[in-house]
Symmetry: C2
Subunit: 324 residues, 2 copies
């Protein structure tokens, strides 16, 4: 019996497939060769999570893999109507990205409160100027997006003494629904966005939303770039509708060196790096290998994406979430 | 009966004494007038916590106040043998500084792990370069100094998933003694110094100590400048004995604009600001007023410093401290 064909949409560094060596027929594809190789594949591993090659190649002729796994957390770059309608199971990485992203978001909150950017600037100028920082304990945050990342952010901020309201699609027990967002955002010190990109979240953080915020509030986006209308955020910062913002994700990545976003006063720009940590690639590879072994034995796969919703359906809420 | 004389070693902004107005005879002193005014004072409020005028003026002739309160947390700038030997009660501010300092220390840990300084530098250069950060969860910290600040730092880092060893003068239950410090520091990712300045802590972080650290470790000082041999730290950073450091306190403050410390690669310099938060002066004033009212009624004073030890004797340990 021939080995199952594992097709890898590859990126540098390639995944380490360890125990699978000799047990699967591994083939590698890039954006241009993917369409031609898809019909022969039993399993597709999307290692290049920044690519939208799957969405483009999927609708073509021929058979399709029974299982697609992405080494990322978002699936908006993969989904097309044909993949959604198919029997193919779609899974995503889990438990690897949320902690680093949450730590990055918590680090930004503390950096804003203590004005670390200003401190570094004073150091550059060799200027001694004691200043007053803000206390994070007792401040109020709204975390938008109740997926694993939003929950982990909620947990960490709660540990720092922040009162956190977590907002998901619909209210449920201690989870607020999106209908509460305006009211909560209007009294928040921190708005942290970690929402998946769907048709209902695209451009949800716009001029109207920024107009609701307190002038002392800060906005942080560690979710998807296209949920923010960047021009509206720049304009709101310019009008001092809010006190600061940090974007780790953008509508167009990589951000062009000539983009005006690089030097907006009060805006901290980072290169989609919040989820990257040392050793992450190895752990993502190990996670896929373990899932492959379950699949090969006919067991149920974890982290299955609801292709219609565009994310893994959520279950329990973290501790420390403020009641609605 | 005349009102008690409250002498204030003043600083800008002056304390708001609120409810005490009309009930005490408030007089203000600076470093040059302090010695002449001390004999008439019942109570001395050290509002200028950066001054060493008390230590200099105290040994002079005449009566001395029965109570001295400092609006700071350290008492090393106040103590002289004559004050230690006297019956005068010395109290210090409490519960106001530790939280902001701990938040500042936690913010530095996250900023180092995610290389926020490097991120800001790349933004200045308009350069998109995704990089890998370190995960804070699962890393190891040693917090040196088991006073309120060290305990609060321990609590916050524990909440971020860091394994923390807290080191005090002598081992006790879950507290490590200073005899364990070398062994703990040698395997730590973070060494956070928050020790009071005494004869046994002066210059304790020196060439020998930095030589123990892992090359990936970072050192943070939010305690007292003179506990660190600054030249040794600079040399150790230069030799890459450790990966980075942050100093918020210095042997000589304010740090001179020509000091070589301002541009040591890997060293983050801030202007003794970790404890400063918005509204802090008002809260310090309120705390003194409340303590004054207890004192005037003959009640026992809280936050009394053991003048021989140089700090307030510690009691319970915080949760989340790793057992020795």
């Amino acid at each position: 019996m021939p080995h199952p064909v594992l097709l890898v949409l590859d990126a540098d560094p390639s995944p380490r497939l360890g125990r699978l060596t000799g047990r699967v027929d591994v083939r590698y594809a890039d954006a241009s060769s993917l369409a031609g190789q898809l019909p022969a594949a039993d399993v597709l591993l999307v290692w290049d999570t920044a690519s939208d090659a799957v969405r483009k190649a999927w609708p073509g002729p021929g058979a399709r893999p029974r299982w697609v796994h992405t080494a990322g957390t978002g699936v908006d770059r993969l989904l097309c109507p044909e993949l959604i309608a198919s029997d193919t199971v779609l899974t995503r990485a889990r438990g690897l990205g949320e902690r680093p992203v949450a730590e990055y978001a918590a680090g930004l909150v503390l950096a804003f409160a203590k004005d670390l950017p200003g401190t570094l600037e004073l150091q550059r100028l060799r200027r001694w100027r004691p200043r007053e920082g803000e206390e994070v304990a007792g401040s109020r945050a709204v975390v938008v997006g109740a997926g694993p990342v939003g929950r982990e952010i909620t947990r960490l901020l709660h540990g720092l003494g922040v009162t956190v309201a977590l907002v998901g699609r619909t209210a449920r027990r201690t989870l607020h629904g999106v209908a509460d967002l305006d009211r909560l955002a209007a009294r928040a010190d921190w708005v942290i966005a970690a929402v998946p990109l769907t048709e209902s979240t695209r451009s949800m953080f716009d001029r109207r939303f920024f107009g609701l915020l307190q002038p002392s509030a800060r906005f942080v986006n560690v979710g998807h770039g296209a949920t923010v209308v960047e021009a509206d955020l720049v304009d709101a910062l310019d009008r001092r509708w809010l006190a600061g913002a940090a974007l780790d994700v953008f509508e167009d990545e990589p951000l062009d060196g000539r983009s005006p976003l690089w030097d907006v006063p009060g805006l901290l720009v980072s290169a989609h790096r919040s989820g990257n940590t040392v050793g992450r690639h190895d752990r993502l590879g190990e996670q896929f290998v373990a899932m492959y072994e379950q699949w090969a034995q006919g067991g149920p796969l974890p982290h299955v994406v609801d292709k219609r919703l565009g994310h893994v359906p959520s279950r329990d809420l973290p501790e420390g979430v403020a009641a609605p």
